[in-house]
Symmetry: C2
Subunit: 226 residues, 2 copies
Amino acid sequence: VTGRAATITGIYLVTDTRLCGGPLGVVETVRQAVRGGIAAVQVRDPRATTRQLVALCTAVRDALAGSRIPLVVNDRVDVALAVRADGVHLGQDDLPPQVARELLGPGAHIGFSVSNERELADALTLPAGTVDLLGVGPVRDTPSKTDAAPAMGFDGLAAVCQLSAVPCVAIGGVKQADLPAVRAAGAAGAAVVSAVCGHPDPRRATQELVLGWAAAVERSEGGSRR
Amino acid sequence: VTGRAATITGIYLVTDTRLCGGPLGVVETVRQAVRGGIAAVQVRDPRATTRQLVALCTAVRDALAGSRIPLVVNDRVDVALAVRADGVHLGQDDLPPQVARELLGPGAHIGFSVSNERELADALTLPAGTVDLLGVGPVRDTPSKTDAAPAMGFDGLAAVCQLSAVPCVAIGGVKQADLPAVRAAGAAGAAVVSAVCGHPDPRRATQELVLGWAAAVERSEGGSRR
């Protein structure tokens, strides 16, 4: 855990092994997303055995070597430690963030999912420095996560972003055309799964998202200056 | 991780949440098994979420408090660290034992499953001190683990015990009547699931296994002295 990844902003890839066509497809998708300008990569594979997840995260880590792009492991703090990832992303059913912070130390990135205002209220009770990022969603209904909560929409996203003390990234079915609304809601970035994984050209898909995000940021900053 | 549990011998309970009738049933089964003289407890619940597993292990840890009976967590090194368990038991699909040893430190108990001579040969290549115990089986076909390897029988158990540099516990459908054969095969103990979990009187079931094991040990020592 390198400590370089406390803040993640922009377009954040969350991998889906099935959508990518298997572990080798994940690694190739990550390579292409790096070429496309991805800000960070989270490896998520709840169906993998621990050893498969270690192998996948190790291969992704190697694909990211030298790029300074943070590697985040979904759920598994032990796997993050084993592969020397930059941090973890925790869901409401995973290890409590305070426990993960104790195990990973102050330099690690810890993201945490909230899907409604009650979960946000709980997250707001965490001591400062426990969580670096909130993953907020699903903004739209998403095919990538079958056990996801109901979609909160952009108004729901804005409500969470406004109350949160830490940066928020939107997740859940976020597409290119949504990026202005994501930015207008106050998010620091957008996490994408199916917009990149399984796309015929993941590099180009990533690049368009990155450019779309940059344009949305520029527009919102222009707007706030006016 | 307390370091008190490098060696586990005798009757070793592996919990099955479904057989015990849910998490509260696991905790009550553990309480009864403690009264029956159990040597160690491994919490195994591959269907639980991480947070459910943390809650279950915490409750079992509290049930074991003051007993000096080691608590071992199946698969999850992060959960073992989070609940300050005495160690982990790793399958072939879990974190590699060397990695777990690095994460848990020299004082933790690390058990490792082998189900055939090829897996044993691999385990024998691990540096000394990596693994404290081998779980060897399934000795018999077992209803508790649907993805288990084919039964190796007592001859297969004996072959592994003879080659292993660390103590072995037999696992997989082991019953009261099997204990003399388990001991004769050279095992240091027997892990039980369905012989205790779901039994109408887990205390008595444990006590009978413990007494049966003690008798088998005495007989084998008497035999070796003759």
